[in-house]
Each structure stands twice: as C-alpha cells, then as structure tokens.
Amino acid sequence: MYVQGSYPIIEKRAIAKGIFDMTILCPDAAALAEPGQFMQVAAEGFFLRRPISICEIDKEHGTLRIVFEVRGKGTDKISELKRGDNIDIIAPLGHGFTVLEDAKAVCVGGGIGTPPMLGIAEKYGSNAEVISGFRTAAIAILQDDFKAAGCKTTLCTDDGTAGFHGFVTEPLKKRLETDKPDIIYACGPAPMLKGIAELAKEYGVRCEVSLEQRMACGVGACLVCVCKTVKDGEQFLSHVCKDGPVFDSKEVDFT
C-alpha cells in the first residue's frame, strides 16, 4: 500500500554542505510507512522521480522525514523547495527492515546511506549501536539524532577529521568479536555493503542491506531496477523497488 500526492514541507534545512533535511506532512503515507522504505520524489522539469529513503517516521504527527544530498540536477531541483511548498511524492515504497523483538542491533551507515538508519535505530533505542562513516567531519550528519534516540554512536571518517580514522568495517569487526548483536542493518556504497555482508557471514550474524538502483516506476511495474540475487543456489534478477530496497545480505550477489 502506498499513496501519491502533493504534501506540504513543514521543515527544511541544510544540515551540511549540499545535504538537505525535509519534514513532510503526509499523514496517510506516514501511517503506512516502516523503517527502510523509500519514496519517489518528483523533481520539477524532470521526467523520472528520484528515489529517497525515509529517514524518520512520526506516525503521531503524520510526518515523514528525508535527508538527501544534491548529486545532480534532479536532487538540486528538489533542494530548491522551501518550507511551506508542496512536494509531490509516492510513498511509502518497497519493503523495509525486519524489526526483531528484544534484540540488539548494529546499524551501519556509509555517507548518504546513513539517513535510513535513523528510523530503524529508533526502534531499538539503547539496544542499537550506530556505526556511521563519512569522507570527512563536515558531512558527518545525524549523530545528534542517533544520540537523542538513545543509541550508542561510533563515528568514522576516511580522513580522520572526526571519530575513528578508517572504514566502518573495523569498529564493526571489533563489535562482532566482543558483543555479537542479533542483527546488522546496513546502507551505503556497494563495496562497504559487500564488506559488511562478508563479516556478518563470518560471525554468523543476520544482516540486512539496503540497495540502490536507477528506477522509473518505483512500484514494481516496469522492471528496470534490477539487482542480482541468489536463493537456494539459484540466480535471480530481483527488483530493488519491490523485492527491496532491503534484502537479506545472504541473498545479494555483490559480484
């Protein structure tokens, strides 16, 4: 179930250079949304909508929050929308993360793959550790949000300007050695996801990854958004918008 409509932006700010944070008042979409799902955002003057993850869901206030980076002309156009403007979205789409009861989770975000971790981390509160990695300190977003949700945060930067100097896989490995969680959630660049999937396998921990692919319909009708998956030894071309964006890491063929 999803809806399409034009909804007011009730909050908008830049949280780092080129990274925008918007809260949309869309009670019907918010009521349906689960962490890990995404929305298709219309960019005026562009034919295809842009897929953006749902960062935070507030069912009580009927809002969905998105955090996105300007990567090209479409996201640039969307970033021009102001507080009070309407944004045309199709939401919520895809299937999100599996939430386990009474469990410990590690959420791993890489760069602009970090926003979808907020919604799922909030489900676990103090039972979640959020390991997030960024190129540099200036774009290390959402750390306060994770802390406000009660999560333990481990920040990594590629250049050492904040937190741990290195990739997210190192603190993840350490955590797996000392205090194995029940599940790992991850979103970020493909090489990072591949590394995390390998660690999860090595330590025998369940792991869900959120994938990206270019999309058109966003709802499973056009079949353009393929990714390679494996189930029971058989290869498939699955569709990120419908079968994902969240997949069990064991089922993703990262080659």
Binding site: F47, M215, V224
Partner: protein
Amino acid sequence: MSERLKVNFCGVEFKNPVVPASGTYGYGREYESLYPLSKLGGISVKGTTLYPRQGNPGPRVAETPAGMLNSVGLQNGGAKKFLEYELPNLLTKDTRIIANIAGSTVEECAELAALIEPSAVDMVELNISCPNVAQGGAAFGTDCTVAAAVTAAVRKELKTKPLMVKLSPNVTSITDIAKSVEAAGADALSLINTLLGMRIDIKTRRPVLKRNVGGLSGPAVFPVAVRMVWQTANAVKIPVMGMGGIATWEDAVEMMMAGASAVQVGAAIFNDPYAPVKIIDGMERWCRENNIANISEIVGTVQPW
C-alpha cells in the same frame, strides 16, 4: 461512465479508449491500490515469452529530456505463469485484457499464440518491435517480409481472437511495414514501440545503460508517434491503437485525431500513476463540453493542409 468514451476496436468493445501500455503497468497489481482497474479501457500486459526470461543486466533505465531509455529485455515469467497465475486475476477486474506476446523465432511466436488462443484474453498484441532483445524483437519488425511471415504464422494459430501487431518506429517507411502486416492478416496495428537511443555518462565515458543502447519513450517521442500513426492510419484499412509519449488527455485527443481508434499510455505512468485515469476523465469532460456523442467521431479527423 457514460457512453461517450465507448469504442469498438476490431470487434472488441472497450468502455473507453485508454489502455496502459505493455511493460509499463505489469499485470495491474501495482496500481490497484490507487484506483480500481475497471476504470481503464483495458490493460496491455507485460510482454510474455514462451519461457521465463531474466532480461538484461542493470542499469536498465536512463533519464532523457522529457523521457527515458529502457533496456529491460522482456523480463517475464513465461506463458505458463501468465496463463495460470496472472490471467485469472486480471479476468476479475472488469477491463479488457490484451495479451502482449514476443518470440525469438517465428515458430516460437506461433507456439505462444496457440497457447493463448484458448484463454479468455480479449485480444493479442504481437510485439515485433522490441529493441532490447538479441533475437526476434525489432529484427522482425524492420523487414517487411519477416514481419509478414511472423504475422501470418501467428494469425494461423489465433482462430478466434483479434490480432494486433505492434510496430517498430525504427524503420525507414512505417507504411510499408504496416501494409505488409495488414496483408498477412493482422486485424489491427499498435504503434509506436520505443525508438532506439543511447546516453553516455561523460564522467565515466560509459553508456548509462549496461546494454549500451535502449528504447526511448515518454513525451519526447510524442510528435514522432503522432506522425507515424497519421501516416499508418492513412495507409491501411485496419484500426490503429496509437501510443508513444501520451501524458495528458489533450495528447490522447490529438493522437485520435491523427487516426488512432484507441490509445495506450506508457512511461507517463511512472511520473504520474494516475495518468490513465486523468486522461479518461479529461476526455470525458472534453466530449461533454464539445457535444461529442462518442469519441470515435474524432478518429482521423485531422484536416491536413
């Protein structure tokens, strides 16, 4: 819905002339939660092949000015799955069902037609124009002799169902192909399929699509589609279902004035999933305001200079 939009398309009655185009609407399941499929004139379902097909590797889509390229490559679950799983569900939706079929050889197309013939689909659309497959596809639709041969082979198997042949725009003369297919026994024509195109990422110097090239659709192709539908409708006696870039009710009216007896709406649905319904409602209103008793009155009424 009034009588104004009712059309008879080669013997099949459609409650309105608006049909989501093959490959852009799946089997309707994804849009049913937005509006009842019974609003639609019909649905041209995703291209079906004899056996399941995985399609091409990704990326399969590239944005273009006012449109998009796709290189799906006919990913589908095969004829058996269509007939046993998708069709029974579609038949409960109170809308016309057009089976869209494609094969890599003439024999395969004929075999598919034979499988579809006893089913309850309302008509068959033979795709001889897919630009995204290595065999069959556009290779069938760009040569008059081959196009006629595959049409005749399918015609032979389809004893009771109307046969509509879907033409490729990637030809020098659309009317030559149209006439060959008509002579080979087609009951109707549909056009246009996508135009072959390409996009390159200048940062990586790589094509955006993994298959390098793909089919262009969306508003960008609309004028080409109008021209081809106009030329074709004037060259044959059988009815034409027009498509290519239709996004608004005005586009649909224009396409019908060019000579289309009904229309299909494709890529516009990705931008606005309500597009087919908005087009139907807009046409209905326009007919009422202009005292047009039935939309068929406007078919081919363009008065060329």
